[in-house]
Symmetry: C2
Subunit: 326 residues, 2 copies
């Protein structure tokens, strides 16, 4: 692999000039620039980004750490992040922690050292204070932590809306199928559900506990929900809701006649499911874009204040999976 030295020698200039041709081309007079470019392409020279990074401290890259790329929610976040990052001239490197909380600190560290900043999305573990204290350039998505910028959906309100919707349909016994115990967003959902119960004295939320936030986790919860006698269920996310509904259908129960189901996030699977799913819609990719903005803002020289934006908005989308209580 040709280096900057080879090009400099071939073009009869210094390495500095070659460096400028690739970095600040307008600082090099055209004749020289053309000569250098010719030499570079003749030798098949490509700048070594690692060396550049070591020297300059800039990568032109942002890192994104998500729990599970197979979940459409995180795939959409990723798209939003990528689109906005690209507008800022940045490339996005994505890492999937595979819902494994233990791996998060390692991946965070790995990304932090090879990017200009990292977006930590829905972490399943509390972040190691050390990592934060090291002054790494981090923005949280759907989580909050003292000393870090963040964007988050107001899942508490989402749950209140869901509960009100079910209550209006006559449901009084509603099961909640939880997501990862350690996740901020599950905590917020539970908070909202508690608030809903405080509002309506005769509303009972039956907490079924925590399940894996995938199709399988939802399926596992379905039989438990039925056994409680609940007439409606609120499920942590759409993917789980799909698994949940699928299991009910397998058992011959009809939706929503025998069980109403509400999901969360309005990923594309919600509308194409066998029974279209009532769910809480969020502009997910917009939130990803916003996270990049926060990162850029945080990185910009003048501004050194943290930003914990307003709760990211959303709205309940009613589809066929919810109906009047039997």
């Amino acid at each position: 692999m040709a280096t900057i030295h080879d090009v400099a020698a071939a073009a009869g200039v210094s390495t500095t000039t070659v460096s400028r041709v690739f970095g600040q081309p307008n600082q090099v007079i055209e004749s020289t620039r053309l000569r250098v470019q010719a030499a570079a392409s003749a030798l098949g020279y490509r700048p070594n980004r690692v060396a550049a990074l070591l020297r300059s401290g800039k990568t032109g890259t942002v890192g994104l750490l998500v729990p599970d790329l197979e979940n459409p929610y995180f795939a959409m976040i990723t798209k939003g992040v990528q689109a906005r990052a690209r507008e800022s001239g940045l490339t996005t490197f994505v890492v999937d922690s595979d819902e494994n909380a233990e791996r998060e600190p390692k991946f965070l560290q790995l990304l932090a050292t090879q990017t200009d900043g990292v977006l930590l999305c829905s972490p399943r573990a509390l972040i190691d204070d050390a990592a934060v204290a090291q002054g790494q350039n981090v923005v949280l998505v759907n989580s909050t932590l003292e000393g870090l910028s963040s964007v988050s959906v107001d899942y508490a309100t989402a749950m209140v809306k869901a509960a009100e919707h079910l209550y209006a349909l006559g449901h009084r016994h509603v099961a909640y199928v939880g997501g990862p115990q350690t996740s901020w967003s599950d905590k917020m959902r539970r908070k909202g559900l508690t608030a809903a119960m405080d509002q309506k004295a005769d509303l009972h939320i039956i907490d079924l506990g925590s399940f894996v936030p995938k199709v399988t986790g939802g399926a596992a919860a379905a039989d438990l929900a039925v056994a409680t006698g609940a007439t409606a269920s609120i499920v942590f996310n759409d993917l789980m809701a799909i698994g949940f509904m699928n299991r009910l259908t397998e058992r011959g129960l009809s939706i929503p006649a025998q069980m109403s189901v509400v999901g969360c996030d309005d990923t594309f699977v919600a509308q194409f499911a066998a029974v279209p799913l009532t769910t809480f819609h969020i502009d997910i990719s917009g939130m990803g874009a916003r996270a990049v903005d926060l990162l850029n803002q945080q990185t910009s020289p003048g501004n050194h204040s943290l930003v914990t934006g307003m709760p990211w908005p959303g709205e309940l989308v009613v589809r066929a999976s919810t109906g009047v209580a039997p």
Copy 2:
């Protein structure tokens, strides 16, 4: 940020020793190691991977470039790659080209310079020969190119199976909804379809052309398919098939009574769709794992031969979206 020098000074050893404590701990006697580790954590020292990379040429990282992470197919590939990479002690950095062929060379280059090797999955553009010639460590997935290792699904056979299935159900006029024109996998599908027509003299495949390989692309094709008078359609992938079916349903057509639909890849959306989708099943994540093996094999010192493995297998899964011809 503390450097290796600070730690060395604090612990009263050389930088080499510090380096070894983090790289080959067993080469350092315990007492020294503990002293160094104490100094390191007191200073909050973290090795700078970029510097290490520049010097050693190893990253412990593999890159994966895919067209669209929101497509469950690529999300699954990613999971497979990650799982196997992890077993090999490697971390995966994923980049999504957003179905934009022009961006591929840049991303490939970017990944190649910051990883030990890259997996190029379903490229939408022909790879720039230069990139390959630069001796980059690349493995292709679902594509083939002279001089590169690869794993690919036998999509030609998949299409033959799909066509035979529809033929057996009495369909004689079958529409094909194509994917990206420049993709290897669309070419293979068309090849298989042609082979199927050669086999059955009275089978007509009506080529509807190329569509965006997303839900929207499938929806766009639906009306065209209906207009041709075809009684069945084979759609490039499951996501498109979902959009395709959704549009048919919107128009009041029933599936499979008025139109049978076959998808491809058997991603999880296929089985949870309103009408469960007949599709060609592939062990997608297994293929991702295999790609990592090829990369490792290719990288290993002794072996310097390319591997273009056997076609990755699959089988047709029949569900409710296909039925006898009207």
